[in-house]
Symmetry: C2
Subunit: 198 residues, 2 copies
């Protein structure tokens, strides 16, 4: 028998889930464009078109709004892995760059870093977001490096994308990303990596 | 003939220079511990033990206080270069780590990055601070890499120090810094660099 109608609970779940997504996207936009101070239930409610009561009912604390905002970040897709280490790393760093360009992931990271040092709850959220973000790079490198060498490689590949933004206010070019991946793979003694050409 | 007494202008210069340094250190402390909002002439004057009039006379705008604060950062010493590329890079990254631990350079960089995107004057200051900070690493790598490859290597070495702080709230260990330098040098085909051991 085919179930044609969802029951009321499911409809409610769908509605809450849709609200959650809309509230998260609005909270993220406020957080990255107007800053931490501007993030309030009143402002999110007005911007997303929901009542304040709805927001307070489901997400009573400001930190709940931050969590929703970061769920919107975590929704960012990873590409399918091809199995070629160089291709997969370039692809991941390119996605990270897009996250900075489109979602202002750099501002999210900086905001999380600044609050994270003082608020345990925020530090826990940051760790979750970073863990998600770094997961593919870690998996790809897991066969090639380990322990402190792996940590150094992961930090450097993130740095290849974040540092141009943080230090110079510019996104890395495709060529910079490709060079970064080649340097790291060659530095780790990975046989498949070709020598930089320029 | 030996000049034994400085004339009045020189005495004034010395006094202003001393005041400048004290005000800069106080402004930096406020900036990194209390944040951008807390940085005001009144607060700096009270904390540093000078009159507001003195501060307003020499440094009338808030941006002037920011410049002074960053001069305090730029005073941070670089070690003497030994000529050994690996040793010199490890030494530079270790100093960068100390700047983060002691002067909260990470917070300075994040604050500059956030204002820099919107305020031209701040972007100019950031560029000057970063240029100073990166100068030794660039010089050391200049014979080994160039153009986008050099940019990628510089960004990654900065990332080896900044990313653990930004992403995980922890400073890199000595071992991580050593691995990072080895990976980059080997990745750039530098003959003197030894293979990572762990």
């Amino acid at each position: 028998m085919v179930q044609e109608l969802r029951d009321d609970t499911e409809v409610d779940d769908v509605r809450v889930s849709r609200t959650r997504r809309a509230v998260g996207q609005t909270a993220l936009r406020i957080l990255t464009h107007e800053g931490w101070e501007a993030l309030s239930h009143a402002h999110v409610a007005a911007s997303a078109g929901f009542s304040r009561t709805t927001l307070y009912t489901h997400w009573p604390a400001k930190i709940d709004l931050v969590v929703l905002a970061l769920d919107a970040v975590r929704d960012m897709p990873h590409d399918e892995r091809t199995g070629d280490v160089q291709t997969d790393l370039v692809s991941e760093l390119t996605i990270f760059r897009r996250g900075i360009a489109e979602l202002r992931l750099d501002k999210v990271l900086m905001a999380l870093a600044q609050w994270g040092a003082t608020v345990d709850e925020v530090a826990a959220i940051r760790d979750r977001v970073v863990q998600d973000g770094e997961s593919v790079v870690r998996q790809v490198l897991a066969d090639i490096a380990r322990d402190d060498e792996l940590e150094a490689a992961v930090a450097m590949l993130s740095g290849a994308v974040v540092c141009p933004v943080l230090m110079h206010g510019t996104l890395p070019t495709d060529s910079m990303i490709e060079h970064a991946v080649r340097i790291v793979l060659r530095g780790l003694g990975h046989p498949g990596s070709t020598s930089p050409t320029a």
